[in-house]
Amino acid sequence: MKPAAFDYIRAESAAHASALLVEDENGRIIAGGQTLVPMLAMRLARPSRLIDIARIPELSYIRDESETISIGATTRQVLVEKSALIAQKLPLLHKAIEWVGHPPTRARGTVGGSLANSDPAAEIALVAATLGATLRYVDETGENSIEVDDYFIGPMITTLPQTACLIGADFPKWGEPHVGTGFEEVNARSSDFAFVSAASQVAFDADGKCTRAVLGIGGLGDFPFRADVDAVKDRIENEAALREAIGLAIEDIEPLSDLHATGEYRRRVAVTLACRSLLNAVREAKGFAHAN
């Protein structure tokens, strides 16, 4: 399990990384490498050149912007895990991050790497899909962005242009007074990719009325996606109504089926987890107010 030979270069900036990709279409960006290196070792991936962006200082940050929490592409997952800002302002990501791999992989793995590698069951991707994050990148035309809804295509495949270097992701902050989150996942071992996962965020107004609810489901389809539960937000505590709405929302998804979980399993458990995550989010929102 030794990788095929490649060249290595440290990019000085995202624009430099993109220029290097323009120069050689078989180049590949590496940041934390926690997904890419196993593929290199197995020779599933064989780039001509690795373009290392891990040390570009301006790509690692967690910033509180007016509407969003903005996270740099090479921000290590461990920094997200330990960030008080994330815990406070992006509680869903805070909840999800501990499900990502295990401590040593979170020490190297980056937020951008997880988004770029687009695993159907990746937790950060799921949170991005659930909250409707915006992904920013640099390519030869300059800085651009893609909405997460237009981003994922399938396992490892995204709409990110071939010459692009992802630079960050902006996760919308919710301004409501009472926000709750829920994150549920089933896997064989806690560090494995989820069979299915569900992430929810709900907001309640001061009168105890649910004003907003979002739900994302991972591991079920080719990529994590947002399922529409807006129609049931008035009945958000009604489990039967939730189950029905979720069932409808995922009806057209062709579930993944593999050695570890059948398609039927994934579809069935997706409903259960989605429902649980929503109810947990509701409980949390009603239980205490998130000071935003």
């Binding site: 399990m1 030794k2 990788p3 095929a4 030979a5 490649f6 060249d7 290595y8 590496i30 490498g33 926690q34 290196v37 196993p38 290199l40 070792a41 197995m42 690795l50 290392d52 891990a54 040390r55 461990v78 791999g101 295990h102 401590p103 040593p104 992989t105 020490a107 190297r108 806690s190 560090s191």
Partner: protein
């Protein structure tokens, strides 16, 4: 490719192929063979070393990427030849191993935990070593070793946070 590696406080100047993983470089070029290769795809943790203060998989990192980082391997943990660190001694006290193959990685994972947390719960310990597979012990005596080391380190006449 010319690469400078800072390992256990010593600077090494090496010529390595970019495709050489850090673990292979440590083992083959520096002959520091305490980090072991168990899976070479980031699951087993036998190759764990400490890079810039955190335990990482040295099989998921290329040596060329490690330039400029501070690397600590198991060979850099014992205070002196023949003298064990508190943690290493605790692993001996509880027999927190059998074949010894996962042991260096396990100790480094624990080392990093105890640097930040001298009062770890069982759950903290389990989480800290959850990326290190031990096929022999069932983990019980490993958890016990780390817990014992924490106890002993708490009792030391040293400020918290100073690694053993």
């Amino acid at each position: 490719m010319r690469t400078e590696l800072n390992v256990n406080g010593q600077l090494h100047v090496l010529d390595v192929e970019p495709r050489k993983t850090l673990v292979d470089c440590l083992r083959e070029d520096l002959r520091l063979v305490g980090a072991h290769t168990g899976c070479e795809h980031g699951v087993c943790g036998a190759c764990t070393v400490i890079v810039d203060g955190t335990p990482v998989r040295s099989c998921l990192m290329f040596a060329v990427q490690a330039e400029g980082s501070e690397i600590i391997t198991i060979e850099g943990v014992a205070p002196a030849p023949g003298e064990l660190s508190i943690l290493q001694d605790a692993f001996c006290e509880t027999h927190g191993m059998q074949c010894g193959f996962c042991t260096p990685g396990m100790i480094l994972a624990a080392h990093a935990l105890l640097r930040d947390n001298l009062e770890p719960t069982r759950e903290d310990i389990v989480e800290a070593i959850s990326g290190n597979i031990c096929r022999c012990t069932g983990y019980d005596q490993i958890v016990e070793a780390i817990s014992l080391a924490a106890r002993r380190m708490r009792g030391r006449n040293m400020p918290d946070g100073v690694p053993a």
